[in-house]
């Protein structure tokens, strides 16, 4: 059974701090790892990672994948109160056979940023 584990489950920081969120996985077939940010409603897409060692960056957020050690990290620098959200990690199986791009999600990390 595919498994995605995120840590920590919750994190409280102050504005300006840097945070690192972790995601480890065990899957029978791997296609990509995705990070989402969920505020009050639906998750919004942050990054899709398919190759080891290549950092993806968007503003203050960055993420990297290690396919050998089966984990990914999401970094947020100079945090702001607007970064408060649940961050979800998901692993996607490849299309083909009986598995068509299905995602397995971790539990999420609840990030709270205080002013």
């Amino acid at each position: 059974e595919d498994k995605v584990v995120q840590s920590p489950l919750s994190l409280v920081v102050h504005e300006g701090d840097t945070v690192t969120l972790n995601c480890s996985y065990e899957v029978t077939n791997f296609r990509s790892l995705l990070w989402y940010k969920q505020e009050k409603k639906a998750p919004t897409f942050l990054f899709m990672l398919t190759s080891s060692g290549i950092e993806k960056k968007s503003g203050r957020l960055s993420s990297i994948l290690d396919k050998k050690e089966l984990f990914s990290i999401l970094n947020i620098t100079a945090t702001q109160t607007g970064d408060s959200a649940i961050y979800l990690c998901a692993v996607e199986r490849p299309a083909g056979g009986t598995s068509y791009g299905k995602l397995t999600f971790g539990q999420g990390t609840i990030l709270t940023v205080h002013p």
Partner: protein, 111 residues
């Protein structure tokens, strides 16, 4: 371009009642999915579809049914609502090679 549209946004059902959660996408995505999210948990896949006329079970399909008569629509049916189905339901769609787009969710309470 509306993306993925879910209705209703909120619903309270009594035990044993039935309802259909609607999901429509206008991006011509082949793949569509229904997830549920319980408090403190990640999303769990209920059913998915790889195209019109094709559906398959996910991790937690019991108590639900789906159909996919068109590319755009992927309704989720609850036949006999149970308290264990109290959750937030998300519909999502994707092309085969892009990230997912989620609907805004339906919060369902079964009392």
């Amino acid at each position: 371009n509306a993306g993925v549209t879910q209705t209703p946004k909120f619903r309270i059902l009594k035990i044993g009642q039935s309802m259909t959660l609607q999901c429509t996408q206008d991006m011509n995505h082949n793949y569509m999915y229904w997830y549920r999210q319980d408090p403190g948990m990640g999303l769990k896949l209920i059913y998915y579809s790889v195209g019109a006329g094709i559906t398959d079970k996910g991790e937690v399909p019991n108590g639900y049914n789906v159909s996919r008569s068109t590319t755009e629509d992927f309704p989720l049916r609850l036949e006999l609502a149970a308290p264990s189905q109290t959750s937030v339901y998300f519909c999502a769609s994707s092309r085969s090679d892009y990230g997912y787009t989620f609907g805004s969710g339906t919060r369902l309470t079964v009392v």
